[in-house]
């Protein structure tokens, strides 16, 4: 359904204001977590300012671009058109405002001070406890109390000085992945520098002429497998066109951590835990955007040895760049799934024209679950449960040798049975603002390398991000009401979900 011009204008204005207030709120929030002594330190990246009512190109943003609609699923009239699949459809933000704030959910930004003409960062290599899932705190290694480490965010042309302190019990170096820097600054252990010994520091300093998606990581192999990585985002001096409203960063990682263990086996050849920015689904924080916005997602695969075919539901995105450089527009590729290899970063851009809660995940089936185990034993047997075994550890219940009916079908069971989420677990899952109003059962389907893209009309976005206590399912049901077929909608059973 085409929108009328008048309500459309109203929508855009209110939406833009909301976006501005959100951005300001997020910035404030980020600053609140900075050490008070560093509060005066300018943060990397631009701070959002109230947007102008028009963009640089045409003085306004439009709903329709050559058959492509910003507000409903559509492809456009001509694959060769600049606007096919929203290819060059601008966001609401103008290029004059600078690049959109970079947001890596669940990760902090690394503050800096200006000193001797350089942005000076301090990075501390250390062991870290990271809560992969509520109640599952894992011992990994990272930087400044975080795994992945905090995001370094600069602008093309900056000179940076990064003082690395080694609080690990073994030597380390830091490699600035992808930068064309002087060889002494490359961080290749023993090849270009002596190791940073435990308790010692080392200063890296170089000029940055690149722009794009980079990252830093330890250049000790097992330390890499143990989580020592972080974003190094370089905003271009000249904002990429078309401008985006959202700029997200997601680091995909794998770990092998046995049951009842908190320490990853970095020597392992298989992987049982999967994290996005240090959290595993459903604890990953959804990417919440407004209907019609242009969105960029930067994605880094820093798994030790697993490639990830990344799939976004409900949208077709453009692959606009790899970590080396932004791809010329003529070489952009529209995709539903993009394979991202180990140590590769990829940039996806799309217009969020399809409201709803959408899966964004690695499509490797074994990566779409947490600590996968064979589904045999009491949990698939009728009348049996583990608690009966736990009541008396010296005697076990007898086993019923009869097959359940499921055994009439070879291959049963394929679904994961008996997934248990405690009330405390569910309370933590639901405690995030970003998940308000989703269906009550959503956590059952988001595991491992999975997160969500929520595309919300302006008013619903405001409800989710600026109000509290939105009932479970309310936002989703409203989207169904507006954009779906409410007559066929079945509510999720209201499970015991804590909250």
């Amino acid at each position: 359904m085409e929108r009328e011009t008048s309500p459309r204008r109203h929508f855009i204005k209110s939406g833009m204001l909301a976006a501005a207030s959100l951005a300001a709120g997020k910035t404030l929030s980020a600053q609140e977590q900075v050490d008070p002594e560093e509060a005066a330190v300018p943060q990397a990246g631009p701070i959002a300012t109230p947007p102008a009512a028009s963009n640089t190109k045409e003085g306004t943003v439009r709903d329709q671009y050559d058959g492509f609609s910003r507000f409903k699923p559509s492809r456009g009239n001509d694959p060769d058109s600049d606007y096919y699949l929203g290819k060059l459809v601008p966001g609401f933000r103008s290029t004059e405002e600078g690049p959109a704030p970079f947001v890596a959910p669940d990760l902090e930004k690394l503050p800096y001070v200006m000193k001797d003409g350089a942005k000076q960062f301090e990075l501390v290599a250390q062991n870290v406890r990271r809560e992969f899932l509520p109640g599952y705190e894992m011992d990994v290694w990272g930087y400044n109390g975080s795994m992945p480490g905090p995001t370094i965010e600069v602008t093309q042309g900056d000179r940076v000085r990064i003082i690395v302190h080694n609080e690990l019990p073994e030597p380390t170096t830091v490699h600035w992945h992808g930068f064309e820097l002087p060889v002494q600054q490359d961080g290749s252990m023993t090849l270009t520098q002596n190791p940073i010994m435990p308790g010692k520091s080392y200063v890296y300093e170089f000029d940055i002429h690149e722009a794009g998606t980079f990252f830093y990581h330890s250049h000790v192999a097992m330390q890499e497998a143990f989580g020592m990585v972080g974003w190094f985002i370089v905003h271009p001096k000249k904002v990429f066109d078309p401008p985006v409203d959202r700029d997200f960063g997601l680091i995909f990682q794998n770990f092998h951590i046995k049951a009842n263990q908190t320490i990853s086996n970095s020597w392992a050849m298989d992987w049982s835990w999967h994290t996005i920015n240090g959290r595993s689904g459903p604890f990953t924080t959804p990417l919440v955007v407004k209907h019609g916005e242009r969105v960029r997602i930067r994605l880094l695969d820093f798994s030790p040895m697993q490639h990830h075919p990344i799939h976004l539901h409900g949208h077709t995105f453009w692959l606009t760049g790899r970590e080396g450089a932004r791809t010329p527009k003529s070489a952009w590729i529209p995709r539903n799934t993009e394979l991202v290899g180990v140590a590769q970063a990829a940039e996806f851009e799309f217009i969020a024209n399809n409201p709803g809660d959408w899966m964004f995940h690695c499509h490797m089936v074994h990566h779409m679950m947490n600590h996968m185990v064979e589904q045999v034993g009491p949990r698939i047997r009728e009348g049996a449960n583990v608690d009966a075994y736990m009541t008396n550890l010296d005697q076990r219940p007898p086993v019923d040798m009869k097959h359940s009916e499921g055994f009439a079908t070879p291959g049963y069971p394929q679904g994961m049975q008996g997934m248990q989420m405690s009330e405390k677990f569910m309370k933590a899952i639901w405690s995030r603002r970003e998940v308000q109003g989703m269906r009550a059962t959503w956590p059952k389907s988001v595991h491992g390398l999975m997160t969500l893209l929520r595309v919300l009309p302006d008013d619903l976005y405001q409800q989710v991000m600026e109000t509290d206590d939105v009932p479970k399912g309310a936002i989703f049901e409203e989207i169904v009401q507006r954009f779906g077929t409410p007559g066929t909608y079945q509510k999720a059973p209201m499970m015991k979900m804590g909250h």
Binding site: E374, V376, V386, M390, R396, M401, F407, P410
Partner: protein, 473 residues
């Protein structure tokens, strides 16, 4: 392909399939039309213990356990054994025998009476002297009293040996009671392992159905279940053996009932030096040996006076038909110890005395050797029990609990849980064996290392001793 050729080919294929099916039906493992392959492979031939060894199981176990209120107790068994064990009675008769000998040896010699007719027909008379004569041996040098003392001392030896025999029987009853008790516990644990083996098969079938196990795994799980069934049967057989042996020691035919008791209860750690001193000073074997030495001393005393001649006095009244007169007769006789002064037997008695001194020493050394061996068993078992109680079993139990919790949280596969429980139960069986070893050694050490409650009760005379005189003296 024209139509006729197609039909012909189809018929050939159908025939081939029929032939294949008929040949396959003769094989035990081949699926028939009514048997799905997964059913055939996942269903074991039998899964119950009742079918494992039809007709070979001891049904006494089930009967006894049906009435749970009735149980055997250790004290009850000891009381029964005291009354009924034949060797205890034998030992008592050994004492009686020695007392009887003592009585016999101290009896005074009977007088002799004789009718004497001398020189019948002399001078045409009935005889020079015909009459009755009474003769009495007068024992000298206290020989009878010494002989009596000697056999009374032997009776004391027999008393010590009877005490030893009581220890043998009671120790054995205790040991076999604990062995039966341990067998009961091990049967329970083997049944736990059986349930786990059944679960392993069920799990393997589940994994087979999910493609996570194959025929090899199923065959293994089936055979493992059967092997565990045998272990249960073996545990049942062991209870029967232990209980029958216990009944034999008690000396009565007993109906099988569960045994009450606790293998865990035990005294404080036994100190070797203390127990060695106790055994060497108080063991009935040592006491018997010392008594025997005293008896050998009496024997020397007895043999030392053997040469002292007895005096035999005789006298009577008769008729001298030649003199036609009534006359009397008197005789006094005694042996002249010119050649035989009993010097050989005396030396033999002295040799016996010295031999018995060595016998005491030998007994001490033998006890030391047996104690050393038994204490080693005891100490090892006590160390095992202590470590199993303090560390191994709690750790394995915790491992099982943690694996269960991990399974509940979907972080561990069920076969790992089964492995944990199997591990825990196998160690519990080992622990039971060590408890039994500790209790057995404890009984033997506290019971002067005596066992063999159905061996004949030994007599007061050690092997090799020469009882030189057939008549007791």
């Amino acid at each position: 392909m024209d139509g006729n050729l197609f039909l012909k080919t189809l018929a050939q294929v159908a025939t081939a399939i029929c032939l294949l099916a008929s040949s396959a039906s003769g094989q035990e493992l081949a699926p028939t039309a009514k048997q799905k392959i997964e059913q055939l492979l996942t269903e074991p031939n039998d899964i119950g213990l009742d079918t494992a060894a039809p007709g070979t199981r001891w049904d006494g176990l089930a009967i006894g356990q049906s009435n749970a209120a009735e149980v055997h107790t250790l004290n009850g068994m000891l009381e029964l054994a005291a009354r009924s064990n034949p060797t205890i009675l034998q030992a008592q008769y050994q004492i009686t025998g020695q007392l009887a000998k003592a009585q016999q040896a101290g009896l005074y010699p009977n007088p002799m009476i004789a009718y004497i007719a001398e020189n019948i027909g002399v001078e045409g008379t009935a005889g020079e002297w015909q009459g009755a004569e009474l003769e009495q041996r007068f024992v000298t040098a206290g020989k009878l009293q010494l002989s009596r003392d000697k056999y009374l001392q032997r009776a004391k030896v027999a008393e010590h040996l009877a005490v030893a025999q009581q220890f043998r029987v009671c120790n054995d009853v205790r040991i076999h009671y604990y062995q039966t008790l341990a067998a009961q516990q091990i049967l329970d644990l083997q049944k736990e392992l059986l349930k786990t083996a059944e679960d392993d098969l069920a799990t393997t079938r589940e994994m087979f159905n999910a493609g996570q196990a194959n025929q090899v795994d199923l065959h293994r799980a089936n055979s493992e279940l059967r092997r565990q069934q045998l272990s249960v049967l073996q545990a049942e057989n062991r209870i029967r053996r232990e209980f029958l042996q216990l009944s034999s020691l008690v000396g009565m035919e007993l109906a099988f009932l569960p045994l009450s008791g606790d293998l865990h209860a035990a005294s404080d750690l036994i100190d070797y030096d203390t127990v060695a001193q106790r055994v060497l000073s108080q063991s009935p074997e040592i006491l018997a040996a010392h008594s025997k030495l005293r008896e050998d001393q009496i024997t020397i005393n007895r043999e030392s006076v053997e040469w002292v001649p007895d005096v035999i006095v005789g006298g009577g009244v008769g008729r001298n038909f030649e003199a036609n007169d009534t006359t009397g007769a008197l005789s006094v006789r005694m042996e002249l110890p010119i050649y035989d002064r009993n010097q050989g037997t005396y030396r033999q008695a002295q040799a016996d005395y010295i031999r018995q001194q060595k016998e005491i020493r030998r007994t001490e050394m033998d006890l030391k050797m047996r104690l050393a061996m038994q204490y080693e068993t005891y100490l090892s078992a006590a160390q095992h029990v202590l470590t199993y109680e303090e560390m191994i079993l709690p750790q394995l139990k915790q491992a099982y609990a943690t694996s269960l919790q991990s399974y509940k949280e979907d972080r561990l596969a069920w076969p790992h849980v089964l492995h944990s429980y199997r591990d825990y139960t196998l160690r519990r069986i080992e622990y039971t064996d060590q408890l039994l070893a500790r209790r057995t050694s404890e009984v033997l050490i506290n019971g002067f290392l005596l066992h063999g409650g159905l061996n004949p009760a030994p007599g007061a005379i050690p092997p090799g001793h020469l009882d030189a005189t057939p008549n007791p003296r």
